[in-house]
Symmetry: C2
DNA sequence: TTGAAAGCGCTAACAT
DNA sequence: ATGTTAGCGCTTTCAA
């Protein structure tokens, strides 16, 4: 038994004794039910709580209730502005319902992701939000526990779990269509890498837009979903023979890196190369030039995901797909400097 | 009592029954102690766990042990690259020790911060990391619980709690000295805003460097610690009469905004205005131009903070100050394009 | 309106 | 080497 240092812990029993009531009554006032308490008694209890500095023990409550009022979240990297924004929104949605958030980063490692899932599950979270680096992650564990779970930032439907995401293909297609509208013809793609060998769904959107406009497919530069990855892709892009006139970049983080590489190469955006990216995170408004980008509604996604986990009536939801919308700024060439 | 849906929960008792042993033995094998178990018995137990898909209930364990093996973290905003980096490091340090992280954002609100602290405390976290928006936050709550706590990203010593931070004054001073070394004379300051009315310690460093070089103090532009805040400060900076030749910016996030505002105003960095910022988060390498910045060792700080909370022998630590080091890139003018 | 008490799943001291 | 069991702090049924 761990020895508790510091001031002796104040328990419900202490409060009850001090207030001259039973522990049940203390419970009733703290939880505002399930029984009513006489106002005078309630005042005594409140006073005792105050005086003693009592703080309910959440572990005991969780054990009794079978609910920790915690949600577990696994994301690849909270350092990526998009995931930062998404996890922030998740935290807000969870807090609104009185839930706390256990946050973990998988750093793009499948092994770490599974370790976190296992850990979160054994911590009895009331719900699990998984932004997997795999396409169809290893989920039997999750499903057998019966703990509600959601695949977040996931577009392809899953047999096992509800998903929350954005129509990546349609979003990418619309983004590329905007580039086509500008009359750019040689349009490249900076694609993200996922652990699965399935191609990112944005690729299909890019290809579709090109095909519909009878444009030949431009080059594809594959790189991790990070600034560094984008930077490396950007260098290859700048050096490419038959250099593309425009690029669709699969994430803001990558776009920041691409921008940097292009600047280094002495190329102007959008004059030499136009760029549209995906996410439209807060960050995209502060680059130079500001990024024209497909916006993902992180707030709505977070709300939907948390709701699917916790709200009885939305438990039926399966594959939740949110629309993206194009935020027009400078990098596409719409408002040349 | 919450009705548990899904597969009936498997408890230790089920495992014991299936393996034909007592629950104590199951405990011994799961925890590898405190008693030894015969190899054959152990195998049976392991098998039972496997077959039944048993997962220990962390809430029960926490109640019994008085330890949740969770740490609570309060930061202003995980969307700020510096805090993203710091919280990532904290998560790693906690994970290394088998602890999970409860992450909360105060969004710069004192009220929210206190709410989170209270909540974290009642969740019985084994340690609390607080990056407060106040200078000497309301800590009586924390102290009376006896839960170990640390003031993170906090330079000024606290009477009540150990602190982990960087010497802001020395760091700022060194940064400004670098600007002075470049022979810039009119050196402004973009200062962050905290809720307390005490000035940010970086201001003193800036002033000291200027005084030591017998330079008059430049203008001060105060703004929130965010890209948006920096942007607004940057606009004021660009428009200022007697425009400064250089600026020290108190954070990378602000610097990104300043850069953007300067670009918009048609000003070149470093040719028209040189810039050095604080933090040197990963992001600072990808701006245009790349930021010369004072680096805060987030990894070390995280490690020290977590260690102060959890490691017996470092419990004595009080005011932990880490050195910063200047990362030279382009924005100061060291390597003109 | 209030109280007594069972029991949530686990650990470990104490038996055997 | 293994088993029995008290009790961690809480909620809530059932009784008063």
């Amino acid at each position: 038994m761990t020895v508790k240092t510091g001031p002796a812990r104040v328990t419900r029993k202490d409060v009850a004794r001090y207030a001259g009531v039973s522990t049940a009554v203390v419970s009733y006032v703290i939880n505002a039910g399930p029984k009513k308490v006489a106002p005078a008694t309630e005042a005594k209890v409140l006073d005792a709580i105050q005086v003693l500095g009592y703080r309910p023990n959440a572990a005991a409550r969780a054990l009794k209730l079978g609910s920790t009022e915690m949600l577990g979240l696994v994301i690849p990297d909270n350092t990526n502005p998009f995931f930062a924004e998404l996890s922030h929104a998740i935290e807000d949605a969870a807090n609104d319902r009185g839930y706390a958030l256990l946050l973990t980063n998988s750093n793009g490692s499948t092994a770490k992701e599974r370790k976190h899932v296992r850990n979160l599950l054994s911590r009895q979270v009331d719900g699990l939000l998984l932004t997997s680096v795999e396409d169809e992650p290893y989920l039997d564990d999750v499903v057998t526990t019966g703990i509600p779970a959601v695949l977040l930032n996931h577009y392809r439907p899953s047999k096992l779990l509800p998903t929350v995401g954005v129509d990546l293909t349609a979003g990418a297609r619309a983004a590329v269509e905007h580039l086509i509208w500008h009359n750019y013809e040689n349009i490249a793609l900076v694609e993200g890498m996922n652990t699965a060998n399935t191609p990112d769904e944005r690729e299909a959107g890019w290809a579709q837009a090109l095909a519909a406009a009878r444009l030949r497919e431009g080059q594809i530069f594959t790189a991790p979903f990070s600034m560094e990855g984008g930077y490396r892709a950007g260098r290859r892009l700048a050096d490419a023979r038959d250099r593309p006139r425009a690029v669709f970049v699969s994430s803001d983080a990558q776009a920041v890196g691409v921008l940097r590489a292009l600047h280094e190469a002495g190329l102007q955006v959008p004059q030499d190369i136009a760029l549209v990216s995906f996410d439209a995170s807060f960050q995209s408004a502060f680059t130079w030039p500001a990024l024209t980008a497909m916006h993902q509604p992180t707030g709505q996604m977070a709300e939907a995901a948390v709701s699917a986990l916790l709200d009885r009536e939305s438990a039926k939801a399966r594959n939740m797909v949110f629309p993206t919308d194009l935020v027009i700024r400078r990098s596409c060439g719409c408002r040349p400097e």
